[in-house]
């Protein structure tokens, strides 16, 4: 719930919102550009066979994690106020997810 | 009230309970993890005992508080007062966090140590290597270095660790000889490794310990520990017997065959010959059991051949009705099989 100061005029408010909006727009577009950029690097590195075999996995996963961070925090606004429990649950979900993947990667033979 | 009542009940049940305990004691030595006859089981019993002591210690503490509380703090009739509302107590809470942690450390260290020790099969591999393959519902034991293989009864030398390689042909089973060592699963498509050691000569009971179908309960096997000399002799005899059997049955000289041999060659050899599809019967006469659990006599053998499904639901061995094998032939066949012994 946002409180509006009564002395703010409609016009001022409108201007303020516009500014907010374009700031937000900028942020989102930058995020998008970053995502595209990361994707290009990832594809490029693999397709041009720039990555040494042993480093490819780690590198790709790092690229992916950065992108996912952008999605979650920029596009999905996970960092908004009042999202504490959402963050807790997503963190736990990611923790469990990592455990599962690590297990099925390491503990079968 | 609670304590008194349970006390009364307990007193009535106690004699029965104690009797029962005495009667069955710690199980039978061929089978019980409580009467270890091998190094593995001994190490395991050691750590079982250790953990049991830790548990009894905790149990005792809780029991004392519990009994005290239940005796001391019952509400007297007519007492309608409100007791002091206690929020908690940091000292106490720290105590009952720290003490369990310490106890667990006591338990964790030998746990790690024993886990690593049990996993170390280097020494065992030098002694003997045995491949165990579990099948619905029988066990194949192969001695790859010795060119010998057998079914249902695993023979090992006394006093030595032998390496056991485990896998399965179909579903998951688990290889368990309680008196010698804990179990290891036999996984289709995957190999496992453990070692086995028996301290004295004797026969130990083995069990399949993973649900594998309707006859899971009947998938018993034996481990026979022989003194080194006997063991070596056994290996040699097995090899000779196998060769003799192969020679005779391959001879295609049907005239020399007894009825039993003939019936066997015609009906059974296709599966039982190689020892991969069905248990090798080379030394069948020496077996202690038929199909792992039936008493080893002619009557049971005939019943088995006629209708294995009845004795072991879901078994892969087909039955042989009278149109395939007549009563007389069956009798001869049985005699022949029961006579298949090592010298």
């Amino acid at each position: 719930m946002e409180k509006h100061e009564p002395q703010v005029t409609r016009n001022q408010l409108e201007l303020e919102m516009k500014a907010d909006r374009s700031r937000e727009m900028q942020l989102q577009l930058i995020s998008f550009a970053l995502m595209i950029f990361l994707t290009l690097i990832a594809f490029g590195a693999v397709m041009a066979e720039l990555m040494p075999h042993w480093a490819a996995g780690g590198f790709l996963v790092i690229m992916a994690i950065v992108q996912v961070y952008l999605q979650l925090y920029m596009f999905m606004h996970m960092n908004n106020k009042g999202n504490t429990w959402i963050k807790v649950m997503m963190a736990l979900g990611i923790f469990v997810a990592l455990t599962i993947v690590a297990t099925l990667r390491l503990l079968i033979w | 009230m609670v304590v008194k009542k349970s006390g009364k009940m307990l007193f009535r049940l106690l004699p029965i309970g104690l009797m029962a305990l005495l009667l069955s004691g710690c199980g039978i030595p061929e089978l019980s993890a409580l009467q270890p006859r091998g190094e593995g089981a001994e190490m395991q019993l050691e750590i079982i005992k250790l953990s049991l002591w830790v548990m009894l210690f905790v149990l005792a503490i809780v029991a004392v508080i519990y009994v005290y509380v239940l005796m001391k703090f019952r509400r007297k009739s007519g007492d309608n007062t409100v007791p002091k509302q206690v929020e908690g107590n940091h000292t106490l809470e720290i105590i009952w966090t720290v003490i369990p942690i310490l106890l667990l450390v006591v338990l964790a260290v030998p746990t790690i140590k024993t886990t690593v020790e049990l996993a170390d099969a280097k020494e065992a591999k030098k002694n003997e290597q045995i491949n165990v393959t579990a099948n619905l519902y029988w066990w194949e034991f192969e001695y790859p270095d010795k060119g010998v293989s057998t079914g249902q009864e695993l023979v090992i030398p006394v006093g030595k660790r032998v390496a056991v390689n485990l896998t399965s042909k179909d579903v998951i089973h688990s290889f368990w000889v309680p008196a010698l060592s804990g179990k290891t699963d036999t996984n289709p498509g995957l190999d496992n490794e453990m070692w086995l050691q028996a301290q004295e000569a004797g026969t130990y009971y083995g069990k399949c310990a993973e649900l594998c179908g309707p006859s899971h309960a009947l998938m018993d096997f034996k481990v026979i520990a022989l003194e080194q000399d006997d063991y070596d002799a056994w290996l040699k005899d097995m090899k000779t017997a196998k060769e003799a059997e192969t020679k005779q049955l391959d001879a295609k000289n049907e005239k020399n065959w007894t009825t039993g041999e003939q019936v066997y060659a015609q009906n059974c050899l296709s599966c039982h010959g190689g020892g991969k599809v069905a248990p090798s019967l080379t030394n069948f006469g020496d077996r202690q059991r038929i199909a792992g659990y039936l008493d080893h006599d002619k009557e049971n053998l005939e019943k088995w051949i006629r209708n294995p499904q009845k004795e072991k639901q879901g078994t892969k061995m087909p039955g042989f009705s009278e149109d395939k094998i007549s009563d007389e032939e069956l009798s001869e066949l049985a005699d022949y099989l029961l006579d298949k012994k090592l010298q």
Partner: protein, 209 residues
């Protein structure tokens, strides 16, 4: 409980954070995130299975690096990434009560999603014809299950967003439908998140011999 506990913003004519202006909205919003928490472990299980069975049982010539169509995957990736952006733009339009813009961005999102799905169908069909099928090997089973689960999510997202659009075509943005739009867009982003891992782990790593 009070449906209008949050006052309208005098400029937009709807409450700020219209997607969680009511308790119902807030509930939906939180619940949906928790659902995504669960989806995370769902996809982790699928990824784990895939990683465990990568190339396992696949015949010579049907390993991941032999068959994957990277150009197509790249195009599909771009489509889905862009659709994630358009869905953000739709939500921004929604928050300023710009219904027309919102609809437009959502329709673009749908079109991009549909194109992605078409690409996937083409891709699967192609693999099928060269012998990499659901039943050809454990690798095949795991591949189609993971990527197919994602594809099914895309399909469901498309159906969901289009139902919302049709149902609310003639309605303005309200505290009732805004949460629905909003969580569907969260869902759409999540699909993209999963795809990021699919293209990285399945396709790109699959190309590394």
């Amino acid at each position: 409980m009070g449906h209008h506990s949050v006052p309208n913003n005098p400029v937009t004519g709807i409450p700020d954070h219209v997607e969680k202006a009511t308790l119902e909205g807030k509930n939906k919003y939180v619940a949906f995130w928790f659902f995504l928490g669960g989806e995370t472990t769902l996809f982790a299980s699928l990824f784990g299975t895939y990683i465990g069975l990568h190339n396992s049982g696949a015949k010579e010539g049907l390993r991941s690096y032999d068959i994957f169509e990277m150009e197509l995957v790249f195009i599909m990736t771009m489509l889905l990434l862009t659709s994630s952006l358009t869905s953000v733009l739709a939500m921004m339009a929604m928050k300023r009560n710009d219904v027309a813009k919102m609809k437009m961005w959502l329709i673009i999102t749908l079109v991009l999603g549909l194109a992605f799905l078409a690409g996937e169908i083409y891709e699967f069909n192609h693999y099928y014809h060269i012998g990499h099928t659901f039943t050809s090997s454990a690798f095949g089973s795991a591949f189609y299950t993971l990527v197919g689960f994602h594809g099914a999510h895309v399909l469901f997202g498309l159906l969901w967003i289009s139902t919302l659009l049709i149902r609310n075509w003639k309605r303005g943005i309200t505290v009732v439908n805004a949460p629905k739009y909003y969580v569907s867009s969260l869902y759409w982003h999540f699909i993209d998140v999963v795809w990021v891992f699919i293209f990285s782990v399945v396709y790109l790593m699959g190309m590394v011999k």
